[in-house]
């Protein structure tokens, strides 16, 4: 019997050491010999506050972001000055604003920086006096001006190390957590051994293997569907219905099939190929190890034999009246639709229809979504400063009024780049060119070159691929996929000074972690998997707890740890991974159908955002799942004769009772039962239970067994397991040998174990990751 040992998360000495371990070790900088049990060296905490940190905490948060930016923003009253600040909606806003203030601070009048003179009203300032001379805000500016002349850089760790005292889960737990997320299975013993030996580099090595499994690509498609929402068209012939009959006269080619059943099957297969084009492209690019930006730049789409026939593309083995099941609907090949300039998923029908346009929207919605999904920029947030309609009296305000141009200068050029695709997603280059009253098609300051108008989206895709924000967007997507949360925003509007400081510290930490992940992405020629690995070993996934710290630092740690409620899809797969059986009813996965919306899931159509915290209804659904799955899985596991082959009960038999007929403890049985409880905690919850937890679970088993045993003896309960839970046949439906059938339960152990399983399956550690 193993010695009971409480799970003790490892504590990080510092942010830099703790987080850098994986990447640095992989790069060889740490000699790659450290194991997870070795103490990490305590670096010297200097008490130093760098100029950047001072700017962030003492100037940006309390002064600039609340006071100055009201006018000094791209559409504000001071938009034409040299002092224009970026809002937190802009990627890299802190660095950009630091650069701006550095430039402005250099201007002096009689030896004093204008940064001090203007806001105090000592020289002409359009906004008048904004801060008190010699007040604390002024003093902060004085300090900053001095520091800008002689910047303070901190060697090693700054005084306030945000990650000091954070505890991390064991490396094998990291593997379990990420493995369940990405490939919906538990690690094998050999994979765990690899991690035990190699630590976090071992996690990355195993992940490399896991990310070749088909389940990973299913998960990848799920992740990107949360952005693209194109699964809306997966059912029936919804995707085919989007296609223009004139462009694709063969779009319902399957109607020629006389057999209705086969015809329906062909229609479904064709539809799925069309509906899945963007998601399959994402999976294909990653699977083939191509630069990830190919999801936008690909000059092809993916076709199956069924969709190729619809598109009229040759080179595929067309269905010719034989058995449609002989054709693999998932055998996809790169191919081009004649006459259509492809730009990866951007030119797929389902993408263009999922994000449609109108005559007056003129592709702005499409532009906004591309910015959001692939450039990590929420354009609408650029305009969240108050606008005044009485100021909007211009002709064509989206071109000329600052209240409008703040967004439109960004989205309109890209909207123009979509000019060749009409509201139905058809390729229809405008005969008269793009709208003259809008900014010319382009991206940022660049304009679509003359002669490239007919394939402007392809040009745009290349621009996006080269943009630093594309990497940021990939990192954001992976971060959300692994942690279940959106990245922290650097916006501090409305926060108290203390909360603003904490928010910015959290933001800075995130920027550091994300920056490292981005670097790996760029250095690996846009390898998507590199980002997954970087994020998998980041503190956001690994953090488990923290030593007692002051409240403000606790707030700055608000985004650490993966305490996110599993989505219906993730929970559905975890149930199978742990118990070996799906939670189904009438052959349909319950969480993916009946309870999908109740449990916070999406349908990619009318419900497109997930609920990420449980409510009363979801809690009851989890309880029902625990009831039904314990009813199903416990008997089935006991059907297996060889204990070593059992997933749930390798240490006990149904005959193992904790007490004899006289109420005396049966030591051997109790030890085995506790061993099995420990095994269940590890398998179901991924934890090594402490003695307290072990005892609590054992007490549940023991008291349930005592109650049931007495009730059976008294005739108050049947000796038989409820007929809905009995298991008397094997997987093929053949009757099992009598000894392996689970029907009678005189000892009441089967039902006591059901209580234990229900307890664990409805636990925080199972429902959350």
């Amino acid at each position: 019997m193993r010695e009971a040992q409480a799970h003790k998360p490892r504590r990080a000495a510092t942010r830099l050491v703790a987080w850098s371990l994986s990447t640095a070790a992989l790069a060889g900088a740490w000699g790659c010999t450290a194991t997870q049990t070795e103490p990490t060296p305590e670096p010297e905490v200097t008490g130093c506050v760098s100029t950047e940190a001072f700017f962030r905490d003492e100037v940006w948060a309390p002064i600039l972001s609340t006071n100055c930016i009201q006018c000094h923003n791209p559409q504000g009253a001071a938009k034409d000055t040299d002092f224009v600040l970026q809002s937190a909606a802009q990627t890299g806003f802190l660095e950009a604003n630091m650069r701006t203030i550095r430039e402005v601070a250099r201007f002096e009048v009689d030896g004093t920086s204008v940064l001090l003179l203007k806001p105090t009203g000592q020289i002409e300032h359009g906004g008048g006096q904004r801060i008190e001379p010699n007040g604390p805000e002024y003093q902060a500016l004085v300090s900053l001006v001095a520091q800008l002349k002689e910047p303070i850089a901190c060697a090693g760790t700054e005084g306030e190390d945000i990650l000091a005292g954070v505890e991390y889960i064991e490396d094998v737990q990291v593997l379990r957590k990420v493995g369940l997320n990405l490939v919906s299975r538990l690690p094998t013993p050999s994979e765990e051994a690899r991690v035990m030996q190699d630590g976090l580099p071992g996690v990355e090595a195993v992940l490399d293997q896991m990310m070749t499994e088909p389940a990973f690509y299913e998960r990848l498609k799920e992740v990107y569907n949360d952005l693209l929402l194109t699964e809306r068209y997966y059912q029936d012939t919804r995707a085919i219905d989007l296609l223009d009959g004139n462009d694709y006269p063969n779009r319902r080619w399957y109607n020629a099939e006389p057999d209705g059943t086969i015809r329906d099957k062909l229609a479904v297969m064709t539809n799925r190929a069309i509906a899945r084009e963007p998601l399959e492209l994402v999976a294909h690019v990653v699977r083939e190890g191509r630069p990830f930006s190919e999801i936008l730049t690909a000059n092809y789409t993916l076709m199956s034999p069924f969709s190729a026939r619809l598109y009229g593309v040759s080179g595929f083995a067309y269905f010719d009246g034989d058995d449609p099941d002989m054709y693999d609907p998932y055998e996809l090949h790169e191919a081009q639709i004649p006459g259509v300039p492809h730009a990866g998923l951007l030119t797929t029908h389902v993408f263009l229809n999922r994000f449609p346009t109108t005559a007056t929207n003129v592709n702005r919605h499409r532009s906004r979504m591309v910015y959001k999904m692939f450039l990590a920029t929420d354009v609408l947030k650029l305009a969240e400063r108050p606008v005044d309609p009485t100021q909007i009296q211009d002709h064509n305000p989206t071109l000329y009024n600052p209240a409008c141009t703040v967004c439109h200068a960004v989205i309109d050029p890209m909207a123009g780049a979509f000019m060749n695709w009409d509201e139905r997603g058809r390729y229809r280059p405008p005969e008269m060119g793009w709208n003259a009253d809008m900014r010319p098609p382009g991206f940022g300051d660049a304009t679509v070159p003359a002669g490239e108008n007919t394939h402007a989206l392809s040009w745009l895709a290349e621009q996006i691929a080269d943009d630093d924000r594309f990497a940021t967007a990939v990192v954001h997507t992976v971060f959300t996929a692994l942690t279940g949360q959106e990245p922290v925003s650097g916006a501090t509007d409305g926060l108290s000074p203390a909360d603003a400081k904490a928010r910015l510290q959290a933001f800075e930490l995130q920027e550091e972690v994300f920056g490292a992940a981005k670097k790996r992405f760029v250095d690996s020629n846009q390898d998507f998997k590199a980002v997954v690995k970087a994020m998998a070993v980041s503190p956001y996934v690994r953090a488990a707890n923290v030593d007692p710290v002051p409240a403000e630092r606790e707030a700055a740690l608000g985004w650490l740890g993966t305490g996110h409620l599993l989505t219906p899809e993730q929970l559905d797969r975890k149930i199978v991974a742990v118990t070996g059986y799906p939670w189904i009813r009438n052959n349909r996965n319950i969480l993916l159908n009946e309870f999908r919306i109740f449990y916070g899931g999406i349908d990619s159509d009318t419900v497109t955002t997930r609920i990420d915290e449980p409510n009363g209804v979801m809690s009851n659904i989890a309880a029902r799942m625990a009831t039904e799955m314990s009813c199903l899985a416990v008997p089935k596991d006991f059907n297996i004769e060889d204990p070593a082959q059992r997933r749930l009960f390798p240490h006990v038999e149904r005959s193992f009772q904790p007490e004899d007929d006289n109420g005396f403890e049966v030591a051997g049985a109790v030890a085995a039962i506790k061993d099995n409880i420990r095994h269940l905690h590890q398998r179901v919850l991924g934890e090594d239970p402490s003695n307290d937890e072990l005892d609590a679970t054992y007490q549940l088993f023991l008291e349930t067994w005592r109650e049931g045993k007495a009730a059976v003896a008294a005739g108050d309960l049947s000796v038989d397991v409820d007929y809905r839970c009995r298991s008397e046949n094997d997987a093929a439906g053949e009757p099992l040998p009598e000894a392996l059938r689970v029907r009678r339960d005189e000892a009441f152990t089967v039902r006591a174990w059901m209580a234990v399983m229900a307890y664990l399956l409805n636990d925080y550690g199972f429902l959350f990751e």
């Binding site: 005559a359 969240e384 707030a555 919306i597 609920i611 009851n620 309880a623 309960l717 409820d722």
Partner: protein, 420 residues
């Protein structure tokens, strides 16, 4: 620690169940069904056109070159003190309900972005970080109820105050309500005996207690707290099955079905607020033909809500707020549509709301007219009505002024005597 003790302790600690920058106040509350006011928040998603509803403008004649609306000013209707546009189902709606409607015109959302407009209208603040009105209200009066805040869409950020609930296939409610029954319609089909079930639940609570006690990372602590609260009303959902109509409306007006479910949840005592939401208002082209049917869904949906509430004897409990992201531009664009405009209207109805009342006004071109903060009369030196003013009034109406959540999410706009 039992549920009451937990909620009480958390409430006394002033914190409850934490989020990084928000707080779920777990309040000690009376056991039993919730019977207080029922807050129904009706969202016109996409930005409605108040000039086609309760702030009518019209056109003087057919020769008017840039009309605000295509209907004529002479056709503008009036029910009591409330003027309404002579389109869609407005006449029937206002004639029937004007005595309980308060119209607030000239509300300045200060934005023309959908997300920010919706957030401003329904949280009372333009910037992020405040909960939706429904979350604020339900967290204030019934945070521990299992369906305290039902959301059918619209802005429904909760800031960790209360978990929103979505309603799916209501035919599955009995399977949700009785998780221990293998056959939900059969009382005798419980997998675990009542004693075992109680033991199981006690063990789960105790384990979560132990985990929470050890945990200090806010995100994880918050997640555990959310699960704790979610579990606290497990048995109350059973009452929902008693009140849910067996035959929900299947018409193309989703508001009716949403209202049916919401009323059932309220009658079951498990719900205090609901977001009802319907779209189709973002009519940049062919405005009238596309916008009016959406307005009709709103008026018919709200009418149904009142009719059904009266039939079920709970009309006196309703507080209804109707609003949208923002308004639509004065006049029509080249595609006969209307674009985004930051000036809008809101309507309040129900318990404590002075009906047959119009507050605020706009110019002929739908620009806001400032008003005196004391008399509410037009005043150039006055203030513009903003969503925050309306939220302040609603908080006052709900008796929540000065409450802990009111202090936690203060409204910066001043008090206006909107309610008289």
């Amino acid at each position: 620690m039992d549920r009451r003790d937990f909620l009480k302790a958390a409430g006394l600690a002033g914190l409850g169940i934490v989020s990084p920058f928000g707080v779920r106040t777990a309040r000690a509350q009376e056991e039993g069904p919730y019977t207080g006011p029922f807050f129904v928040l009706v969202n016109a998603a996409g930005g409605w056109d108040p000039t086609s509803l309760c702030d009518p403008k019209g056109r003087a004649n057919e020769e008017e070159s840039d009309p605000m609306n295509y209907y004529f000013t002479g056709d503008i209707g009036q029910a009591g003190n409330i003027r309404y546009a002579p389109v869609a189902g407005n006449q029937a709606f206002f004639e029937k309900h004007y005595q309980k409607i308060m119209v607030i015109n000239g509300v300045d959302t200060t934005t023309n972005g959908h997300d920010s407009g919706s957030r401003h209208t329904w949280s009372g603040r333009l910037a992020e970080g405040y909960p939706a009105l429904g979350a604020f209200l339900s967290a204030s009066v019934a945070a521990s109820k299992p369906l305290a805040f039902i959301s059918n869409g619209g802005f429904d950020e909760t800031q960790g105050l209360v978990a929103p609930t979505r309603t799916g296939d209501t035919g599955s409610l009995s399977r949700i309500a009785y998780p221990n029954r293998l056959d939900p319609s059969n009382e005798a089909s419980e997998l675990f005996t009542p004693a075992t079930q109680a033991r199981l639940q006690a063990a789960q609570r105790a384990r979560l207690d132990r985990m929470q006690e050890r945990q200090r990372l806010p995100r994880l602590k918050k997640a555990m707290g959310a699960l704790y609260v979610a579990r606290s009303g497990e048995n109350e959902i059973q009452r929902l099955t008693e009140f849910m109509p067996t035959d929900l409306d299947r018409s193309n007006n989703g508001l009716i079905r949403q209202a049916q479910v919401a009323l059932a949840a309220y009658r079951a005592g498990v719900c205090a607020s609901v977001n009802l939401s319907t779209g189709g208002f973002d009519t940049h082209g062919d405005h009238d033909n596309r916008h009016f049917p959406s307005l009709q869904r709103i008026t018919e949906g709200v009418d149904f809500l009142w009719e059904e509430a009266a039939r079920q004897g709970i009309a006196d409990k309703l507080v209804v707020v109707v609003g949208s992201d923002f308004g639509r531009t004065p006049g029509y664009n080249a595609q006969n549509g209307k674009d985004h405009w930051s000036i809008t209207s809101m309507m309040l109805m129900g318990q404590g709301v002075p009906g047959n009342r119009v507050v605020g006004s706009t110019t002929d071109r739908h620009r806001p007219i400032a008003l005196d903060p004391t008399t509410l009369a037009p005043s150039e030196a006055g203030v513009r009505i903003k969503p925050g003013h309306v939220h302040r009034a609603i908080r006052q109406l709900a008796g929540l002024t000065g409450s802990s959540l009111d202090r936690l999410f203060p409204i910066v706009e001043e008090d206006l005597p909107l309610l008289g």
